[in-house]
Symmetry: C2
């Protein structure tokens, strides 16, 4: 339970139809659904918390099989679920995969999906603890992850005056999607960002240990997830779009659509980087980069209030959260 004292009526998610649905479910479940609404559900233990999250990847919604191979279907689904553990500052203990496959599918395809899932889990030291198989109308992979969080970082701890930081680089996953939509192959770096995201477990743990007050992973895109963070923390956030660290393929794709590259990246989803707020005294970005192997970039400021502003050359832009293509 991440927000045991909050009622459903105040559930802290940004706006959007998917989040309206989640709010209604939580309202319906009442106390039975007390763990919903954060990256992970938490179970308190003697030495911290267990963190759990479940994430489903559906053919035609989250991926297409003419875009990525079966091993990447498994890797990507598992990395997406592990990203929720990263956002809690948790260390993975294990992974479970429920796979649905068309009745006519080849067994080798299933083996490839599970090999990819197993490789993503192994990349962060986690075993595959369980699974289930079913036939169905298309491919779907539901991955559940469990981890141990000595000091879980929820979405709810940001304070006015904090600085907003993001790990890695943004927009590559969307750049790959836009290229496919045009019928062209993405550039190799964008393809890698989409097909083979690295779960930011080490980064999440580092940030939890160095004072992160709130954290969320970027699955709905910065434009959507910054709003979740602000709503859960009951603060306002200013994002400086010019500060966004961008993937190499973003400029070209943004240019084709005629939108600023930073807006393109902020409105793209599934980068699986971490968005976090730290006290303004934090000055460990260089240490972070050295220890975690990826940049940590300051991209905004937390204020008192309740809105999120995306500032571009001093102008406030209205940005949309990311929706899946299916």
């Amino acid at each position: 339970m991440t927000h045991p004292t909050r009622g459903a009526e105040s559930l802290a998610l940004g706006s959007g139809p998917e989040f309206d649905r989640i709010r209604k479910i939580i309202q319906e479940l009442g106390a039975r659904g007390a763990g919903l609404g954060d990256d992970c559900g938490l179970i308190p233990t003697a030495d911290g918390s267990l963190a759990l999250s479940t994430d489903v990847s559906v053919e035609g919604v989250h991926f297409r099989l003419d875009w990525i191979g079966f091993p990447d279907v498994g890797w990507r689904a598992t990395a997406a679920a592990l990203s929720d553990l990263a956002a809690e500052g948790a260390s993975p203990l294990g992974v479970l995969c429920a796979v649905t496959m068309p009745a006519h599918a080849a067994e080798s395809q299933l083996i490839d999906v599970m090999s990819g899932a197993g490789a993503a889990a192994a990349s962060v030291g986690a075993p595959v603890l369980g699974g289930d198989l079913s036939s169905g109308r298309g491919w779907s992979v539901a991955v559940t992850v469990i981890g141990r969080a000595p000091r879980p970082v929820t979405r709810a701890g940001s304070q006015p005056g904090d600085h907003l930081w993001v790990t890695g680089t943004l927009g590559g996953s969307r750049a790959a999607l836009e290229a496919w939509r045009r019928g062209e192959p993405p550039d190799p770096e964008s393809l890698k960002r989409y097909a083979h995201p690295e779960p930011r477990i080490t980064a999440g743990r580092w940030l939890a240990e160095h004072g992160a007050r709130a954290m969320i992973d970027l699955s709905d895109g910065l434009a959507g997830d910054a709003r979740h963070l602000a709503a859960a923390s009951a603060v306002a956030i200013d994002v400086e779009l010019n500060a966004l660290p961008l993937d190499a393929g973003v400029c070209r794709e943004a240019g084709r659509l005629g939108v600023p590259a930073a807006q393109f990246a902020a409105e793209g989803g599934e980068d699986f980087e971490l968005l976090t707020t730290l006290p303004s005294s934090f000055d460990g970005a260089a240490d972070f980069s050295r220890e975690c192997g990826i940049p940590l970039t300051r991209i905004g400021t937390v204020r008192a209030g309740s809105d999120v502003r995306f500032l571009h050359d001093g102008v406030t832009l209205i940005l949309q959260g990311f929706s899946h293509f299916g």
Copy 2:
């Protein structure tokens, strides 16, 4: 990890194409998939183990929407997953649900599914810790459960001379399916067994505390699951079909198919009762019934060897495991 010392080549499942697939996955994953092949994956803790399991229910494979309503879709999927915890002797800590729904589905249907899932979880004192939503081609509910098992009971501990016992009554779920296949409504008791199975958490805990050496839940049917138990324990089992406790609707449906009622029940799946072996000195069936509210019936004997025999009036019958209808 339930069988940390076993290699994939010796993975202890009964025969059948689904289990061949699982064996191949485990072989492919190697040490990364060390937890696969039991009802639950286990994580050792200071005071026992955490037990986890994931279970997917797919429209057209596990259920049809002209058979049961949306609340029962959620209840049944959750009860099926909780049944794996019961078979480990575990106490539930929480439930996570990943729901896929057609894009045109009504929001009230989703709320009903989640209400049913929440009610099944609440019936055994577990909160809903997390969830995910996606659109897809049909309804599908992937439920993951976590529990605490002070003394986990795997499938692997049966010893020659043990007696084989089963909780509750069998065959009702299949009786409902056969009625629907004929185009008739099932009798109310069979419908309830199919649509609203009760997770045998209390029973599983009782049996774990009273010396159960091995346990499995009856999802693939007695004919299939007895073979899993025998294979995992490296023993032979004789099942006395005449001893099987049967649901009330079984006789009628078995008679229409012209098979003995006990064979009908043993070849039916998804009763979600528990099959367990206990030392021959066990004499607590009456205590079990009083405390758990359901019967516990001795239905067979464990022998040295490696086969499962289904005996009916002294004759050995060849029985098939249960396959889903989709």
